[in-house]
């Protein structure tokens, strides 16, 4: 079988505070025969500071990365970080719909971005390249009750991303069900976690993330599943503030969806980086995978 | 030299597009003054010889617009207009008239904004294409020489 080769943009989070996200994406890709090729000489995507300060800068930073990826002959670009993904897709949309700006940005970066790249977030990546291979490779059933948390950037703005539905998204739930998990219906799927205030105003993070963690725990979820490094760091690292807001200690762990897939594939926990989490990830008594799980494919389109 | 201002002739039906253009007026939506509207009872009435005539008389661009499919005041006139357009387009191509100079569209009586958009986009497109001169060049050439 020919190895699938995809472009890959890790971004700063995945090199730093969310190393385990990077590790788990790489681990499952390798396991399933997919080669992720990092963009040579990639730079910062600009999130979240640039687009508050300077429009040209906020478009030029991602545009340079996109142009480099195009130059490297890549057709698809996997962008696991939700903030990077948002900046990349927004940039592509703006440049393709505003010729003047497109020319201007081309001038700034000294390269020409043609706009032929398909930008995929981690869920789109899983849907397109991973999910079909799961049946033959799953070793353990992820037999846990989970709450999938999408956060703000993954599905918004729908007009640009054209991915999943803004309210009550379903794509992560479908993947988790496929792994054998019981993915619950809950209230805070797309609520803000307070990422922007992660450093400057941790009390707000405590309140916003606190509600998220509490609702998931209240409904009996055994793990929160995320696909964004900011979501993860807030829900995981800010647990003291969260517990303070809720007035009780909650032990529900937070997993990247790629880590969950990795566990089901039987990849070593340390390779997936589970030991790096602040909230201990216990989850171990998985059942061996017995039979293929059929998941009803929900109509995942925006109604409007 | 001043900028090229194209002459655009719009052939429209009375019930949808003419009324839609009236609505553009009542809504005070501005659009290019390069368009002249010719009113017909129905797009079905529009003899495409008139389009040829318009080009021969010096039009740079043409808009043909009527009711949306199924909304024709006379049931089916717009379908015949569309069918004729499919044929006429090929003839234009054959005759060397750039088919981008003719815009075929549906604008209902409720689409005042759409009318302005179509006029403006056609105006821009024709500006890019430049004046339509091939017919006049042909007629002024000394063929006998």
């Amino acid at each position: 079988m020919q190895k699938i080769k995809l472009g890959y943009y890790p971004g700063c989070s995945l090199e730093g505070s969310s190393r385990e996200y990077n590790e788990s994406v790489q681990a499952i890709a390798e396991k399933l025969g997919i080669e992720l090729v990092s963009i040579p000489d990639w730079n910062c995507c600009g999130a979240t500071a640039a687009h508050n300060l300077n429009k040209e800068l906020s478009l030029s930073l991602p545009a340079r990365n996109l142009a480099l990826a195009e130059e490297a002959g890549l057709k698809e670009l996997v962008v696991p970080c939700a903030a990077c993904y948002s900046r990349f897709t927004t940039t592509q949309h703006e440049l393709m719909h505003d010729e003047t700006m497109h020319q201007k940005v081309n001038g700034i970066i000294g390269k020409e971005y043609k706009g032929n790249l398909r930008i995929l977030n981690v869920i789109q990546f899983i849907e397109e390249f991973i999910i079909d291979k799961l049946d033959d490779n799953i070793k353990f059933e992820f037999n846990k009750k989970v709450a999938c948390y999408y956060g703000c950037l993954l599905v918004r703005p729908n007009k640009i991303l054209n991915f999943d539905r803004t309210e009550d998204p379903q794509t992560m739930d479908v993947v988790m069900k496929k792994l054998g998990a019981d993915s619950i219906d809950w209230a805070y799927k797309t609520e803000c976690c307070g990422a922007g205030f992660s450093v400057s105003f941790t009390e707000a993070v405590g309140r916003l993330s606190g509600k998220i963690v509490e609702d998931a725990d209240h409904r009996g979820a055994e793990a929160l599943i995320v696909a964004c490094p900011m979501c993860h760091s807030n829900l995981d690292m800010r647990r003291p503030e969260i517990d303070k807001y809720n007035g009780k200690k909650l032990n529900i762990p937070v997993l990247y969806i790629t880590q969950a897939i990795g566990l089901a594939l039987g990849i070593d926990r340390n390779i997936l980086g589970l030991q790096r989490h602040f909230v201990t990830v216990k989850l171990n008594d998985f059942k061996p995978f017995a039979k293929k799980i059929e998941v009803e494919n929900l109509q995942i389109t925006e109604e409007i | 030299m001043s900028e090229f201002e194209p002459k655009i002739v719009a052939f429209v039906c009375n019930w949808c597009t003419y009324a839609g253009a009236d609505l553009t007026g009542t809504s005070r939506i501005k659009y290019s003054a390069n368009v002249r509207i010719v009113r017909f009872p129905c797009t079905g009435r529009i003899d495409y010889m008139l389009l040829t005539k318009a080009f021969a008389s010096g039009a740079d661009g043409i808009i043909v617009s009527g009711c949306h499919p199924n909304d024709c005041h006379y049931t089916s006139g717009n379908f015949y207009a569309r069918r004729r357009w499919m044929v006429f387009k090929k003839i234009c191509d054959f005759m060397g008239i750039d088919t981008r100079r003719i815009v075929f569209s549906w604008v209902s009586a409720a689409e005042g904004g759409k009318w302005a958009e179509i006029v403006n986009s056609t105006n821009e497109e024709i500006k890019k294409l430049g004046p339509y001169e091939s017919y006049h060049k042909l007629s002024t050439q000394d063929i006998l020489a």
């Binding site: - | 201002e5 290019s32 129905c42 003899d47």
Partner: protein
């Protein structure tokens, strides 16, 4: 020689602010054939019209161009003025320099040039206009009323009481419409059924009204005064002439678990049913999709118990053809269902209902006999939240307009709830309280001040369920935009009023226009609010836009008045702008070659074959002949005619060619 007069209107400042009217007049005076040209402040005013009349007489004009607003606005006005002066009215044309020029372009040379060009076009056209005589057609003095809601009922009764015949077509098994579903009506809180059912019975008993229920309009042909309408009478599987309405069949039907449409799914009904006890006519229909006999071929219990022997399983749809002179569209509206709202759970929470469902719940004849019981477990809701503007005034939802009735009915709902659950709390989230109308604002104030409904100004961002409660998350914009969370037992969404699902299809059958929301369009928003653009077809009620009961009734009476005026004439005059075959040469030498390509394209079957015979009666050739009684003047035949033998008055080939030529060869 043509002697054309040109009259340029300033329309106050509507035209003159952008177009240099005196200059246009000056230039127009030099056009070949123009003998008189003048500009004036208001051409449509009395003195303005007199100017036209006097100029025609004084200068012996043979044609008139009024350069003013759209011909759709004032063409009849100026044609009348011409007729007054003794000039054939069809020798008058209008150049549209307002809607198509002054209102849409900036002041400047280009705009002036456009106005001049448009006038030149019309001058060249009017030179070639023919004097025409209007056509007289008879009037069929029967009206068709489509829809049997309160608007249809009012229109039908008023027309019938004026002494004319009425045919009413209703899609459902009973007339009554949405009004029959309502519990009580604002601002008086009188019971909806109590005031409506006597009117429904009146319709059934009026000898001038022929009622077809469970029927739909299949097709419409013809024109004002002379429509031919085909009505599809859907098979009721019950012989209406025999059934005595005892209702035994409905009690014996074994399949009683079908969601009741009249109760909006909150109650159940059998497969043979009357929608509600006061239905008119009180004759059941069999729902073929759910009937056990139609599904399995076995059962027929209704037939066995029917003492009148009225059940007809072999009944088929019937097409009835009727001739009518006028049509009133009264097809009403619909409301968005709760599944339209992703932020409120896509309709997955049973205790979130829409306003119409609440009406049924509050109605004494409804599924809960008027008691407040939430759908999920039948408990009395102690905390209830009403969300106004659910979908309305929300461009993100594609519904920019105000649904108009929700403010009032939400206030009514809150009051009804408080009257039934004294210790309960009613919250209302709202954007603005729009209570314009007689005694309307007083009514909403009463709801707040006397009945204690708690109004919160702000929108609800989401609703979710937790531990059996619905958590309503909203903002209170009068309290510093604080987030408000209410743990409610039930939520009522005042969902947007939208066009009936079949509206677009009906509009296409009737050839009337509709707006982007599929509501039918009136001919003029102010001066022709109940007419459509198609003569003889009128609009009443919420099929035009969301309307409350008094407005719908007023419009319906307006329509009845219009139709009665129409029926006061024995004959109508029709515009003579129709197609004709060239017969200027001796008849046998008409350029028509008899190819009859024109025949299949004519939507009105107006083109016939005419035999041309010699003196001895031998056939020389066949020509096309256009029946002037049937031709509606679309002109499609003109464009397909290979030998250019067909032309159409008002838009003749010569007129159109010269028009195009004039506008380009300045």
């Amino acid at each position: 020689m043509a002697r054309i007069g040109v009259f340029i209107c300033h329309c106050g400042e509507n035209i003159s602010a952008t177009v240099d009217c005196p200059k246009v007049s000056e230039v127009a005076a030099k056009f070949p054939g123009v003998v008189y040209s003048i500009d004036y402040k208001y051409m449509c005013s009395d003195p303005g019209q007199s100017m036209v009349v006097n100029a025609i007489k004084e200068h012996k004009l043979t044609g008139v161009v009024v350069s003013a607003c759209s011909p759709r606005m004032h063409e009849p006005t100026f044609r009348r003025a011409c007729a007054e002066a003794g000039l054939n009215p069809y020798l008058c044309e209008m150049a549209n320099i307002r809607e198509h020029c002054s209102w849409v372009h900036e002041k400047g040379d280009k705009t002036d040039q456009k106005a001049i060009d448009v006038v030149r076009m019309m001058v060249e056209k009017v030179k070639r206009n023919n004097a025409l005589m209007s056509i007289k057609v008879p009037v069929t003095k029967t009206a068709l009323v489509i829809g049997g809601g309160v608007a249809g009922i009012q229109a039908a009764l008023d027309i019938a009481n004026a002494g004319h015949k009425v045919i009413m077509v209703e899609r459902d098994p009973s007339i009554g419409g949405h009004m029959s579903q309502l519990s009580e009506t604002f601002p008086t809180l009188d019971c909806s059924q109590c005031i409506l059912t006597p009117r429904m019975v009146e319709v059934a008993q009026n000898p001038n009204i022929k009622l077809y229920t469970y029927a739909e309009v299949e097709s419409v042909e013809g024109f004002v005064g002379n429509f031919t309408v085909k009505i599809r009478k859907k098979a009721k599987s019950v012989d209406e002439t025999v059934c005595n309405g005892c209702g035994l069949c409905t009690t014996k039907c074994p399949n009683k678990k079908i969601p009741n449409e009249f109760e909006l799914g909150m109650g159940k009904r059998p497969a043979i049913y009357v929608p509600f006890p006061q239905a008119v006519p009180n004759i059941p229909v069999i729902d073929k999709i759910n009937c056990t006999y139609y599904k399995t071929g076995k059962c027929k219990i209704c037939e066995k118990v029917c003492q009148a022997k009225a059940i007809r399983f072999d009944q088929e749809d019937e097409i009835i053809e009727v001739a009518v002179g006028a049509i009133a569209i009264c097809t009403g509206f619909d409301v968005k269902k709760t599944d339209f709202f992703p932020e409120y759970g896509y309709g997955k929470y049973k205790d979130i209902i829409d306003g119409l469902q609440f009406e049924r719940m509050a109605s004494a004849s409804g599924p809960t006999s008027g008691e407040m019981r939430r759908p999920s477990d039948g408990q009395t809701p102690k905390k209830i939240v009403f969300v106004a503007c659910a979908g309305s005034r929300d461009p993100a939802k594609g519904i920019e307009y105000c649904s108009k009735i929700c403010c009032m009915y939400t206030a009514k709902h809150a009051m009804l709830y408080k009257h039934k659950v004294h210790d309960g709390t009613a919250y209302v989230f709202y954007m603005d309280i729009r209570a314009a109308g007689k005694n309307y604002d007083e009514f909403t104030r009463r709801g707040i001040e006397e009945d204690g409904a708690k109004y919160i100004r702000g929108r609800v961002s989401k609703i979710y369920e937790r531990d059996g409660k619905l958590i309503v998350v909203g903002a209170d914009t009068l309290m510093n935009a604080e987030t408000v969370e209410i743990e409610a037992d039930m939520v009522v969404l005042a969902t947007a009023g939208v066009a009936n699902p079949g509206a677009e299809e009906l509009a296409q059958k009737l050839h009337v226009s509709y707006d982007q929301h599929k509501f039918f369009s009136e001919a003029h928003p102010k001066l022709k609010p109940v007419e459509t653009n198609t003569a003889g077809i009128y609009l009443a009620g919420a099929c035009q836009a969301p309307k409350d009961i008094p407005e719908s009734v007023a419009a319906a009476s307006g329509v009845a008045g219009k139709i009665s005026c129409l029926f006061a004439n024995n004959e109508l005059t029709r515009e003579p702008l129709i197609a004709f075959v060239d017969r200027t040469a001796p008849p046998e030498y008409s350029s028509c070659t008899g190819c009859f390509l024109c025949q299949p394209v004519c939507p009105y079957n107006a083109i016939e074959r005419e035999d041309v015979k010699d003196r001895n009666g031998n056939l020389i050739k066949q020509l096309a002949y256009i029946n002037p009684g049937l031709c509606q003047g679309c002109g499609t035949c003109v464009a397909v005619c290979k030998s250019k033998s067909i032309d159409i008055d008002g838009y003749t080939n010569s007129q159109m060619y010269y028009e195009v030529d004039a506008l380009l060869n300045s």
